[in-house]
Amino acid sequence: MAVSVDQRKLPTSRLPRWHRLVALKGASFTLPFFLGFVVFTVVPLVMALRESFYREQSSGLGFGEETVEFVGLDNFIEGFEDDRFWASMLRVSLFALVCIPAIQILSVLLALLLDSATQRAANLFRLPLLVPYMIPGIVATLIWVYVYSPDVGPLTPMFDTVGIDANFYSGEMIWVSIGNLMAWNAIGFNMLIIYASLRSVPREIYDSAYVDGASEWRVAWSIKIPMVRRTLVLTTMLAIIGTLQIFSDPVLFRSMTPETVTRDFTPIMAIYDWAFAQGEINYASALSIILALVVGTVSALFYRLTNKAPTS
């Protein structure tokens, strides 16, 4: 990529008279996107900030006219003291802490397996392994919601025959159930990304290691995994951002077990509930800004930590 950055400067500097016009026309290609970006990203961002500083007050026992007034940081202070919101945040963070590394490790393992298999075997297995990725997230959740179901699912009777009384909807099991479903849906694609970057490593490196007497395990641990480190950092970061905002999976589970999955089970569910069930748009905006800050801080920290670590 670095090379093309240098090349880019060439055409305009060589043709000084065209410089301005060409640059202007070049910039005009980006115009449609950035107009839309301003309307559908920047404006809502500013609106979210503004909303969060106001509050709707109804005077006279709720019968009077509703007035919107500036309350400064009150919504945020309330948000920072909202136990139920932070309980949902803690729940999701703990889940992310266990689930994301597990998914990453399994994906790396699978990519390594596929990479060390013969070309024929790899071609044979690749498509079936990607089937879960082709299934839209909602349908994947629907499938697992039913597979877990004690009424129609095959898993409960299967566990019964080996003498385990499993209730996948119970409070203790629900995160395991959701984690398994996320892993099922995510591993295929993660594996494919890692596999692609493994394949872009020159084979000679491995071969010289084999010549030096390194075992398959040693090569995997000391060469292949460090080679895909950047890819892993990227996929992990996307997973962190996604998992902290988990919404559709618990919402679908909620329609089966409303007692276990409460309406503020995850931060986004809580925000959705405040905004559209309780109608507290201002407070919900403040909560979503707090969530954005948490997501931003966590991903920035993660990026700093992983990039400071020694490369090899």
Binding site: R8, T12, F37, P44, T118, L129, V147, P154
Partner: protein, 319 residues
């Protein structure tokens, strides 16, 4: 000793590249992988372990889909009583008929809506992203760095942060509960622009644009006749990934669409799932068959466009 045998085993390596088929995707750069040497250097036990591991993962990947396929052929009663992993009485046709006629065929409306939103939204998004990525990759102009910063920075903005104010904005614009609320915002996707920029950098040589300029072609003509064509693979990838995203989207339609005849198929299936707790009507059979039908366009698209999402994967892994 071992070193010597390994050294003897490796020589066939350099000869293999000619026998391998050429790489399909432009980004994929790979050196030869000697299939011939694999058998020599990995022991039989390691190979058995590898195959077993892959087979177990495959079983895990396919079993739930198998359950879905089997269940789609059963009547609602058999769904509850028969063994989940094997067929009972074949009832698929009846199920399909129920699905397509329920509430005057609302499922067909949902499928049509999803396809419509998906195609129109993604086509517009692809065009805008390719133009923007091309502009960012091929020209240097004041503010370019700032624009790139906006794009990368917006990856970090959680979608949920935007949803509530977007709802307020769309209410002001009077587009809540219309197709516009789903389609128009989907035109502007920062990640697609990023992909387009990375792709343009790799696919379009600056010398070509230079030559076209000397021949007197204008910048817009160069884009439509050279740039856009060279970027067609990247554009297809962006289209595919965008379409998958639209097909999957749930939170947006849930917030912005009210009346059921405008819903997407995912929202519709969710409403059928929820009906059980709200009104104690059991539509399990319908949800199962509906899920399978909603998968078909996606699977067809994914398999026929395999080459393109692989490009997306290699673009992603290059970062």
């Amino acid at each position: 000793m071992t070193t010597a045998t390994h050294a003897k085993a490796t020589p066939p390596e350099p000869t293999t590249p000619s026998t391998r088929p050429p790489a399909k995707t432009p980004i994929r750069r790979r050196t030869a992988r000697g299939t011939a040497t694999d058998g020599v250097r990995t022991t039989r036990r390691t190979r058995a372990l590898i195959i077993t591991g892959l087979a177990l993962f495959t079983l895990y990947s396919l079993a739930p889909v198998w359950w879905l396929i089997v269940s789609a052929t059963k009547s609602q009663r058999d769904l509850y009583t028969s063994n989940g992993l094997w067929f009972a009485e074949f009832n698929l046709m009846q199920n399909l008929e129920d699905l397509f006629t329920y509430q005057d065929g609302i499922f067909v409306t949902w499928m049509w809506n999803t396809l419509f939103y998906g195609f129109v939204g993604t086509a517009g998004m692809t065009l805008i992203s390719v133009a923007c990525g091309y502009g960012l990759a091929m020209y240097s102009f004041r503010g370019r760095g700032f624009l790139m910063g906006c794009i990368v920075g917006s990856f970090l903005v959680p979608g949920a942060l935007l949803t509530i104010p977007s709802f307020l904005l769309y209410t002001d614009l009077r587009i809540v509960d219309t197709a516009t609320a789903i389609i128009v915002p989907s035109f502007f996707n920062a990640f697609s622009v990023y992909l387009a920029k990375v792709y343009a950098e790799g696919a379009i040589p600056h010398e070509l644009l230079e030559a076209a300029r000397i021949d007197g072609a204008g910048e817009y003509r160069i884009f439509f006749q050279i740039g856009a064509r060279l970027m067609s693979t990247g554009a297809a990838t962006i289209f595919l990934l965008g379409f998958v995203g639209m097909w999957n989207s749930f939170f947006g339609p849930l917030v912005f669409l009210r009346s059921s005849e405008k819903w997407t198929v995912m929202l519709g299936l969710y409403s059928w799932l929820k009906v059980k707790t709200d009104q104690s009507v059991d539509l399990t059979g319908m949800v199962v068959v509906g899920s399978i039908i909603s998968l078909i366009p996606m699977v067809v698209l994914m398999i026929s466009m395999q080459r393109f999402w692989r490009t997306g994967v290699s673009l992603g892994s290059l970062k």
